[in-house]
Amino acid sequence: MSRRKRFALNVNQNSTFTLSIASMTDMFTLLLVFLLQNFATSSVEIKPQQNLALPTSNSYKNPILSVQISVSTDDIKVNDKWVARIQNRDIASADVDPQDTNFIQPLFKELQAIAADPNVKKEEKNQIMLQADQNLPYQTLRKVMYTASMAGFPQVKLVTVLGN
């Protein structure tokens, strides 16, 4: 008799080991219901930006396709493209027109380029979706809105998080 056979456990070959998965199925069903509730239905993808906390509001309208401007505590981006700096919760002086302190030159150039781009959809061209940090002063946002309206984007949609 070989050594392996001598020390082998006496296991009944006919018995089958059944794993009870009922509790696991319960857990996954709960998870499935939760995920179905949170399923994204909006057609517009909004990427969360760094150093940008959106304010809460009781508005429940889903965003529609438009040019996205994000104003964080560090910078301004247009459709995820960096355009200007924010210093001390205001637009950096180097990016502002010295003749008109409300006018943000790089933002204007970028928006004008979007307006002139034939590949950009028509419905996207006259409105902007503004994502801004909730602690930024109105002074900073006013400059962004002013520049956007000068570049041919008079309709501003304020992006918020659903809250109370």
Partner: protein, 177 residues
């Protein structure tokens, strides 16, 4: 008489393996496409009757309402009806906006003037974006479900009740330096 013998110890076991396999495939798909943060935008889409009433107010231009917020978070509402001005104010509490009083004041103004839908909004430069959005929230809709305002549909002649107070908000000091 023969009796049926039932084995009380026997269990009916449902095979859940296939169900679990389906769920396991669905979970990663839903995890990837779920929105855990619901991002919304402050809407401008309104019921037809309300939109018509806003257009009428803009065309007639006889009633004007200005809402100003100063650096101390004092909110001043100036109502101009056919050249007759009246001013209301809600002082701030420890440099915070008194939302409850502001909402109550706006409800009272709306009840007296149900045909006003537009606000000219002029916040101070130091007012934060969060506060701007909160004031817009207070002004747009009535929070109290019992308080509703009548709007007449010019086309059908029917009167409907709406919770919209001042949904049209225009930033009037955008061009100021």
């Amino acid at each position: 008489m023969k009796k049926l013998k039932i084995h009380s110890t026997s269990d009916l076991e449902l095979d859940l393996a296939s169900l679990l396999a389906v769920i396991m495939k669905l979970v990663p798909v839903l995890l990837l496409s779920s929105a855990f943060m619901q991002v919304m935008e402050i809407d401008t889409e309104l019921p037809q009757a309300v939109t018509q009433a806003i257009d009428k107010q803009v065309q007639e231009n006889k009633k004007n309402m200005i809402l100003e917020v100063d650096a101390t978070r004092k909110v001043t509402v100036t109502l101009d009806i056919n050249g007759q001005k009246s001013t209301y104010s809600v002082p701030g509490i420890e440099s915070q906006i008194d939302h409850a009083k502001l909402h109550s004041l706006l409800q009272q103004i709306k009840q007296k003037n149900p045909d006003i839908f537009k606000i000219d909004f002029a916040p101070d430069s130091k007012v934060t974006y969060k506060e701007v959005v909160s004031i817009m929230d207070e002004a747009r809709r009535s929070r109290d479900e019992k308080v509703r305002f009548p709007v007449k549909n010019d086309k059908t002649g029917q009167q409907i009740m709406t919770d919209y107070m001042f949904p049209e908000i225009v930033f009037v000091n955008m061009m100021e330096g």
